[in-house]
Symmetry: C2
Subunit: 439 residues, 2 copies
Amino acid sequence: MGAKTSFSMVHEVHVVNIEQASNSELQAELAALQTKYSQLRSLGLKLDLTRGKPGSEQLNLSDALDGILQGDYTASDGSDVRNYGGIDGLPEAKKLFGAMLGTSPEQTLIGGNSSLTLMYHTLEFALTEGIAGSQSAWGNSDSVKFMCPSPGYDRHFAICEHLGIEMIAVPMLDTGPDMDVVEGLVREDDTIKGMWCVPRFSNPTGCVYSFDTVERIAALGKLAGENFLVMWDNAYTVHALSETTSTLAPISELCAKHGTADSVFQFGSTSKITFAGSGVAFLSSSERNLSALKAHLAFQTIGPDKVNQLRHVRFLQNLETVFSHMAKHANILQPRFNSVLKTLDAELSGMGMGSWTRPEGGYFISFDAGPGLAKKIVQLADDIGVKLTPAGATYPYGDDPQDSNIRLAPSFPSLEDVQACVDVFVVCVKLASVQQKLS
Amino acid sequence: MGAKTSFSMVHEVHVVNIEQASNSELQAELAALQTKYSQLRSLGLKLDLTRGKPGSEQLNLSDALDGILQGDYTASDGSDVRNYGGIDGLPEAKKLFGAMLGTSPEQTLIGGNSSLTLMYHTLEFALTEGIAGSQSAWGNSDSVKFMCPSPGYDRHFAICEHLGIEMIAVPMLDTGPDMDVVEGLVREDDTIKGMWCVPRFSNPTGCVYSFDTVERIAALGKLAGENFLVMWDNAYTVHALSETTSTLAPISELCAKHGTADSVFQFGSTSKITFAGSGVAFLSSSERNLSALKAHLAFQTIGPDKVNQLRHVRFLQNLETVFSHMAKHANILQPRFNSVLKTLDAELSGMGMGSWTRPEGGYFISFDAGPGLAKKIVQLADDIGVKLTPAGATYPYGDDPQDSNIRLAPSFPSLEDVQACVDVFVVCVKLASVQQKLS
């Protein structure tokens, strides 16, 4: 996919700030952009910037996982990890992954290869059976609502939609969800049963929730009606792009302070630490919640794959070695993020055609085009062979009321392909913006 | 746990046939048995014959799994198994495990490490959402019933109980479920939505369903009301104890003949082929059913662990090598089964104190004591340190109406411990039987 040729061409187009440009300047720009767009089309690109998948170079970092056990299948408690048993995970896995979430082994449960599965089952359990007994089941009420800070993660929203939980979009600020809005909603409406959060390097904005935001979230369990649940998806907890990044306040300590431990489930996984499809997922919550969830899960599983847990603990060892390992990921990811940011800066800064985030970690850059342009931009890119995350995907029900947000996911393609994608992207942003301005 | 000493002692007790013995003979036997029982108690045994777990010698057979990939993580379709994606499994896994169930790759879906999870989600999906659309959901009706050939598998029954599906026990014959009863029920009551089956080396009787039984089960989809589901848990499909065993009729072919492919879900796993807690589970059904189930599962998983699928295919290779591998399991299991059967034969044949099965494969021997004695026998054994599967566990709701059936699971303990268990068991059977006769 001759990515190199596209790079030089894009930089020939330099529209002035769209608000200040005259009609004839815009017309000239439009013609130039249309020419560029046609040239890009002729390259026959077939690129994909849609999903937060690690690239193969990242996956190679964990190749030692397979074979690491060297015939020693005995866990720290003496159990044979090859056999049945143990629904809550190996002691050493609970210790390591509990620490990753800032909690204790006693408050940690190890799952299979997908934290999404743990989230789904937690919500389904709270909805249909009730975490604190059947009288606590959300489904006892006709209406069950969830707050969804948006832009957010489409798979979270899909779970709610599938389970019939009504979603309320809540604005995302640089500090996390707009807590004035959140607290207002929770005070007004006791059918609101929870909120999704990706607190560190949020998907897709990349923001890290501020201390104040985390503390206010930890306190929601008191403010809200009964059986309120914060779904704290800490998917990127150790996924910084550089050594100096904002820290996340420890929600479990803040919950302890506010007496709200039962109102938060934390989730994490090694999907973007080791192998995306073959990692270890985990969750933390109060011992009351874990005990109820385990009793529920016992009907549907013989317990998660303990051999893979042991592989992961032997490979990742402790938090310090995890951080060294994650630095290797950052070395691979950072050039890809820089490629996108550098091109956006060079091509779109001060043009009045959109704004974007500069994440310190995670997997995404969030781009806000002018209102009414996201779908158009995604379509323009798709038409010339560059797949972007569908416009609207970052909002509940796929409905971005401004039709403005686009999630850019630069991790998976090669560096060269990321550059080709962003080159196409800026031409599409400009073309759509100029076309709209002229229409 | 000085097992050897117990062995010699047991054989001193020889009660005559309980129906023919005089009262004084029974009194003498009772005294002798009580002495033996006290002697056994003094051994301080701590043995467990409860669950169908493979022993460590069996698990060792698959130690080559870890490390078998040797850095080659590419599946036959060129995909990188380390990354996300692929909810239905690798092509080579669908081929191998589909063949194990006698179906095609197209009719096969690969799961995680637990076929129980696949069964649970299939039933929950059929109940709450409906496999053929929402109008087909069993939950639309006030009453949902399932036929449970009994004695059967307690975890099947636990799923039904947890999901609120009413269970109807159906007698098990040597040929499988009593199909006259099954067909009669299905004709009479259209709220009966399905049936559990462990068709080969049934848990716990060990029987292999006869060709006629399988064909009649395949035809149930026509006889029964709409959306009827046979849950065909072929957990022991390749688990013969010797080379010459009864074959199981191919239900998918018989379903094709009767036009009932939508009415059967087949399940299997490598839990008792490779590692019990770290194997690969799979299911087969019609393409319509698989497509619906996949759409449902997509909300709750990123897809199963493909690295482990690839490990398993590289290790197990094809059906022929699977059979060679299973012969090694049989070599380990057969002495344990023989130990139980030899002792039962020697100690209880012709005594009128119970009957037992002689399975050609699987993990269990089913023992039927005299009516009203199973709980007593299990309690007597437990009191002197030998745990047996709880009496009643093999019946829906844990309720064996005859209080007669006891499942013996000789796979996990060492051969010496199996012998010690069965020595204790026969003393407990005799003691309970004589006590009952005298009371």
